[in-house]
């Protein structure tokens, strides 16, 4: 039984890694087409780095990911705090709204944001589809995830700690800053990391909300792939796989130190 499980696991891991390994191998392959390895080369990486557009797309991706993560972490953390601490009218509605970006297919979310921006432009003359609308779109799905992650952390905290802080004379903001936030920090960090990953991975929402000049790396990969398989995309993909591995290892190391 155990042997069968091991064999099964081995095959599934092979299934998971084979496609990525092929891409990495091909990124060093001299031949332009096919999988026959004709010789080792770094030409595709050179071509990639010499293309000024790729740097621009990379910077766009970074601006979108960092900008949206910053805003969504702030909004989501506050919202989680409010949802856990207070009762107020409309709380039930808010909790259902939080699940919409989590469960609704990306394509529906993409087109609904596109409609929003189109209606708004019709009525108020802004916003034009640009990097800004992409960031607004990313924040929208990130806020939901950050809120839910931080909220589950806050629910685990002992409310007695905040009471103790108040008994010792801390005011509302002091309690938040010196007691609640440090205790909630692992949740906030996990939420931010999740938001960052979601933003870097997103193609669909970006696809519908991006205007001219707002090309990100996933959009670039998509349009290149539509034109046919290209070794430059292999090189770019290899770099992204490497970066993902690095950040995942980093996140893993950080969470291991978490209490």
């Amino acid at each position: 039984m155990r042997r069968w499980l091991s064999l099964h696991a081995l095959l599934v891991y092979l299934f998971l890694y084979l496609p990525l390994l092929v891409i990495v191998a091909l990124s060093f392959n001299e031949s332009r087409r096919g999988v026959r390895f004709t010789g080792f080369t770094l030409d595709w990486y050179r071509a990639l780095f010499q293309d000024p557009r790729v740097l621009e797309y990379f910077l766009n991706t970074l601006v979108v990911a960092l900008g949206s993560t910053l805003v969504s972490t702030l909004l989501g953390t506050l919202l989680a705090l409010g949802l856990v601490r207070y009762r107020f009218p409309g709380k039930g509605v808010l909790r259902y709204l939080l699940y919409i970006p989590v469960v609704v297919p990306d394509v529906v979310m993409g087109v609904s944001l596109l409609l929003l921006f189109a209606f708004s432009r019709e009525l108020f003359g802004f916003p034009k589809l640009s990097l800004l609308t992409v960031i607004l779109g990313h924040i929208t799905f990130q806020v939901a995830f950050v809120t839910l992650v931080v909220r589950s952390r806050l629910l685990l905290l002992d409310p007695g700690l905040e009471e103790a802080a108040r008994d010792l004379g801390a005011r509302g903001f002091q309690t938040f800053w010196y007691v609640t936030l440090p205790l909630a920090w692992p949740g906030v960090a996990a939420g931010a990391l999740l938001a960052l990953t979601l933003s870097l991975d997103d193609f669909v929402v970006t696809f519908f909300t991006a205007g001219p000049g707002a090309t990100t790396l996933p959009l670039y990969i998509y349009s290149s792939v539509k034109l046919g398989v290209s070794p430059k995309v292999h090189a770019l993909s290899t770099l992204i796989v490497g970066l993902s591995a690095f950040f995942l290892a980093l996140g893993y190391a950080l969470t291991r130190r978490r209490v």
């Binding site: 499980l5 696991a9 891991y13 299934f15 998971l16 496609p19 990525l20 092929v22 891409i23 091909l26 087409r33 999988v35 909004l75 989501g76 506050l78 919202l79 409010g82 601490r85 207070y86 107020f88 808010l94 709204l97 939080l98 699940y99 989590v102 469960v103 609704v104 297919p105 990306d106 394509v107 087109v111 609904s112 944001l113 409609l115 929003l116 209606f119 607004l136 924040i139 929208t140 806020v143 939901a144 839910l148 589950s152 409310p159 509302g172 990953t197 870097l200 991975d201 193609f203 669909v204 790396l217 996933p218 990969i221 998509y222 792939v225 398989v229 993909s237 992204i240 993902s244 950040f247």
Partner: protein
């Protein structure tokens, strides 16, 4: 909890914490959803603009056989992808949970998953193309080359590949919480391994299996990218139809109606899931 605070302070704190995020969700989640609903009753103008007359014509059109077929295809992809993920992922979750180096195995499971979605789909295109690895492999035996893509099978394969961890992780979470004493009790009562598994282990993993199924089924049904790249026009899912209406065809009203149908379907699936699992179940989806 906030006995010390005056009503005014309470109101202020609620506004500061819930205000910005709540406003955001209202403006960017609720409002767009309502706009999709509104647009689905409008009509496409001669230049692709939205306008009157109001009516249910978009919904009537969405029920035509061509479009129903796309719905059927999406449903089929969703169901088959969920079944295949269960077949691959369920035993894997047990293997990982019982392994001494389970953290490393989880890391290895997540790594391809955190690689950009588009690259994961693209990798299959490279594998399955005419000059790809699979044909090179088969060629060594004097077979092929075959046109593995574009095809329904290629779309299904890449869909399973991209969403598999969504199934493994929740099942893994249930396996971690498993009460193995029940299994021993089953053995003590004379159950054979299969029967013991069926009655003492399997039911304990149902929450994970349900959560995993929802997490694979919904995105598998709703995606357009996989079918776009690996179906190349031959496999048309609802997602592809929606993308076409908001892209080249520029019939936003019809696209909105299709989106409403897709959303209704997803919400129905979630409602059924919530009925089985309760609200805690919904929280575990994140």
């Amino acid at each position: 909890m906030n006995e010390a605070a005056t009503p005014f302070q309470r109101l202020f704190r609620i506004l500061v914490t819930v205000g910005p995020g709540g406003l955001w969700l209202f403006l960017f989640v609720l409002l767009p959803t309502l706009l999709v609903l509104l647009a689905s009753f409008l009509t496409r103008g001669p230049y692709g603009e939205l306008g009157g007359p109001l009516g249910v014509h978009n919904y009537a059109r969405a029920l035509e056989p061509v479009y129903l077929e796309a719905f059927a295809q999406s449903l089929l992809i969703g169901v088959l992808a969920t079944l295949l993920s269960a077949l691959l992922g369920y035993p894997l979750a047990f293997y990982i949970a019982r392994h001494p180096r389970r953290n490393l195995l989880l890391f290895l499971l997540l790594l391809p998953f955190l690689t950009n979605f588009l690259i994961r789909v693209y990798a299959w295109l490279v594998l399955l193309q005419r000059e790809g690895l699979l044909n090179a492999f088969l060629g060594a035996f004097g077979l092929g080359p075959y046109a593995f893509y574009p095809s329904f099978l290629a779309v299904l394969l890449a869909t399973v590949y991209t969403f598999l961890p969504f199934f493994v992780l929740p099942v893994y979470a249930s396996v971690e919480r498993l009460d193995w004493q029940l299994l021993e009790a089953a053995y003590d009562l004379g159950a054979r391994p299969f029967r013991a598994f069926l009655h003492a282990v399997l039911p304990q993993t149902y929450p994970g299996v349900f959560a995993g199924s929802v997490l694979v089924f919904i995105p598998a049904m709703g995606t357009f990218v996989v079918a776009d790249l690996l179906g190349a026009g031959r496999v048309v899912l609802v997602g592809n139809l929606i993308q076409q209406q908001f892209g080249l065809t520029r019939d936003w009203a019809f696209g909105a109606a299709l989106s409403v149908f897709l959303m209704a379907f997803v919400l129905l699936a979630l409602y059924l899931y919530a009925r089985i699992q309760g609200e805690r179940g919904l929280e575990e989806l994140v």
